[in-house]
């Protein structure tokens, strides 16, 4: 099936589900639209794990196909948060680096919408400076014991599994000695506490690790190779259309109501076309086996700006309508997170600047 046919199929299904009241569109649905049943529905349609092998419950399709699927889900403002992290980055990481046992156990469960992941990267003292994580993994018989604290782990309180970046040794350089683990969040020694955010008791959580056990088979890739691996993961984390489309449901309403000054709307639509093509280019490069980290950073830098500019355009035209006002307010409260999560604007700017210098040499 072509990408265009897939697009049409996804679109028709989402229209049907929306009309049937199975979901209500909203902005930022890939973070806060958490609906386990909806994820299972998508899993049943074969729309989770599109890119991994059929051997593991996947569908052996390319990243361009996944790009098309995710674009349509985001356009519809569908509640995809429950499987987003696993589908986007941890599933692919398991497919590339995981042991046979881990692949067999988790990939089919993710593809079915049953296994749900959260990300344990950040810590109280490790934000932008991720290499300074202090969570430790100590070698024991048959595996590792994790001890430390993770924070800002979105939706950890309802996840089944966590990805954890931890220190396995103190290398000469700070980027050495980091390793990646997959953790069962129901394991003894794991405590999850929610952190209310400005939208109320939302997605934020902290995870306390008190000698939580991870079997050897659940180590991702090489011990000590975590930094290189997590850096590659960033292409998946930053390079998708969700870095452009978090507020698309709001823009869609704006376009549907034919509101707004034509110049402002035209500018947004022009930029949308360019940003979507940029995201598509990232997917094409992933299909070619690359990890286009710098291109993904560029996309996120520019995309986050677009997401906020949609809000500004809506502010110019919408506030009189109460229903639209609510959609606008929802987006306003989500916006501060856009340019923080997945790497702040300032940090991305450094990455993009370095790339520019490298290309100019």
């Amino acid at each position: 099936m072509s990408a265009a046919a897939l697009r049409a199929e996804v679109r028709a299904q989402l229209d049907e589900w929306r009309a049937a009241g199975i979901f209500t569109p909203r902005s930022d649905s890939w973070l806060v639209g958490y609906d386990e049943d909806f994820s299972r529905r998508l899993g049943a349609r074969g729309w989770i794990g599109l890119t991994w092998s059929p051997e593991y419950g996947g569908h052996g399709r390319g990243f361009v196909d996944r790009f098309v699927l995710t674009e349509e889900l985001l356009r519809a403002g569908a509640p995809v948060a429950a499987h987003w992290i696993a589908d986007r980055q941890i599933g692919p990481a398991i497919a590339r680096l995981g042991t046979g046992a881990l692949r067999r156990e988790l990939l089919p469960a993710i593809a079915a919408g049953e296994a749900r992941f959260c990300l344990g990267m950040s810590e109280p003292d490790a934000g932008s400076d991720l290499a300074s994580v202090r969570t430790r993994a100590r070698r024991v018989d048959g595996g590792w014991l994790l001890a430390g604290q993770k924070v800002w782990s979105s939706n950890a309180h309802r996840a089944t599994h966590a990805y954890v970046l931890a220190r396995t040794s103190d290398g000469e350089r700070r980027h050495d000695g980091l390793s990646e683990f997959v953790l069962d969040v129901t394991a003894p020694g794991v405590t999850v506490r929610r952190i209310p955010d400005l939208r109320g008791p939302g997605h934020f959580c902290e995870i306390f690790l008190d000698d939580a056990f991870v079997p050897d088979a659940w180590v991702l890739g090489g011990i000590g190779a975590g930094w290189a691996q997590v850096t590659e993961q960033l292409a998946f984390e930053r390079g998708g259309p969700e870095r452009v489309l978090s507020t698309y449901p709001l823009l869609r309403r704006l376009l549907d109501t034919a509101a707004g000054p034509v110049g402002r709307v035209g500018e947004l639509v022009a930029r949308l076309v360019a940003l979507r093509r940029l995201a598509w280019q990232v997917a094409v490069r992933m299909d070619a086996g690359e990890a286009p980290v710098a291109a993904a950073a560029t996309l996120k830098l520019l995309g986050n700006r677009f997401e906020v500019d949609v809000i500004e355009a809506a502010r110019e035209t919408l506030p009189s309508d109460e229903d639209l006002r609510a959609a606008l307010d929802d987006a306003v409260l989500a916006a501060p997170g856009f340019s923080l999560r997945g790497g702040t604007t300032e940090v991305l700017s450094v990455v993009v600047g370095r790339e520019a210098m490298r290309e100019a040499r």
């Binding site: 990408a3 035209g266 930029r271 076309v273």
Partner: protein, 314 residues
């Protein structure tokens, strides 16, 4: 196509050196050389007297030429020839490089490089290029005008062709300026270290680079759009025009005083960015897109999707 692009840059640069202080003579030489070399025939079917390449091939040449801070009437000559073929008119003069395009603008019609042309294509017919009012843009290129307005409302494939290649022009100059800016920041030292080490400077370098990348993606999308596309093609040019202003600003800021001298040559790029982003401006294009989307609604905006080529190849 790399070879053609490199040859074009080489041949044109060699000409420029001879006209250092005479921009009018430089432009006349650019006109002559482009016509003699016939690069505009690149994206024309062999059956029609062309070289059988596609539009992307020609866009790559245009991009390389403008990245080097050079002028060449390739978008005009190509669109003129395309217009003659599309309208079933005799392409002989166009093959010789004497037919361009007419771009209605308010109460006038702009004819880039008009003084060198026999005629310009407008809405399926040709306008003779007599009684032109001579004018030049900020980059010293001739952009002459004719009296009379003929505002087309439907997307015109000939204008779209020209817009795509004009966007390629802007993308090339933006890439050239962004690259020079990054290279300069990495080597210029102040306070005992390269200025690129100052994060505020690095952010300007990053911004210029990001805008050039975005404009290139917009061009890439326009290149695979349908001939009569009402959104993706104007979006490509609007994005390139918008990027042009930002790149020029960042480039000059990072270069300091040396950047505004003729000596350094950065101005060959920024002058072109400022000149080319003005015909038409991003504001005009965006208003057009806004009107199209108002009529076509969200589905039209979204249908300017990124993977036309994949979709059609099944």
């Amino acid at each position: 196509m790399r070879a053609v692009a490199e040859a074009a840059v080489q041949v044109l640069s060699a000409q420029v050196a001879a006209y250092r202080d005479d921009p009018a003579a430089e432009m006349a030489a650019m006109w002559r050389t482009t016509g003699e070399q016939g690069w505009h025939l690149l994206a024309v079917p062999e059956t029609a007297g062309g070289m059988g390449g596609d539009l992307a091939d020609l866009a790559a040449v245009v991009r390389a030429v403008s990245a080097a801070g050079l002028s060449a009437p390739l978008p005009e000559l190509h669109a003129g020839l395309f217009g003659m073929l599309a309208a079933g008119l005799d392409p002989a003069a166009a093959l010789d490089g004497r037919i361009g395009v007419a771009l209605p603008r308010g109460a006038e019609i702009a004819v880039p490089w008009g003084r060198h042309l026999d005629a310009a294509v407008l809405a399926g017919t040709t306008l003779p290029c007599a009684d032109l009012r001579p004018a030049v843009n900020l980059a010293h290129e001739p952009v002459d005008t004719l009296a009379g307005a003929a505002a087309g409302t439907t997307p015109d494939p000939v204008v779209n062709r020209w817009r795509i290649l004009h966007a390629a022009r802007l993308v090339g100059a933006a890439e050239g300026a962004a690259r020079r800016t990054a290279a300069y920041a990495a080597t210029r030292e102040q306070f005992g270290r390269p200025i690129a080490r100052f994060q505020a400077v690095a952010a300007l370098v990053a911004e210029a680079h990001a805008q050039a990348v975005l404009a290139a993606a917009a061009l890439d999308a326009a290149l695979v759009a349908a001939d009569d596309d009402p959104v993706t093609v104007p979006a490509g040019l609007a994005t390139a025009a918008r990027a042009a202003g930002v790149v020029a600003r960042c480039a000059h800021q990072v270069h300091g005083a040396i950047g505004v001298t003729r000596e350094l040559g950065l101005e060959r790029l920024t002058r072109r960015l400022w000149a080319w982003r003005d015909l038409p401006t991003e504001h005009e294009l965006e208003a057009g897109i806004g009107r199209a989307v108002r009529a076509g609604g969200e589905p039209l905006a979204w249908s300017a999707g990124p993977e036309f080529d994949v979709g059609s190849s099944g």
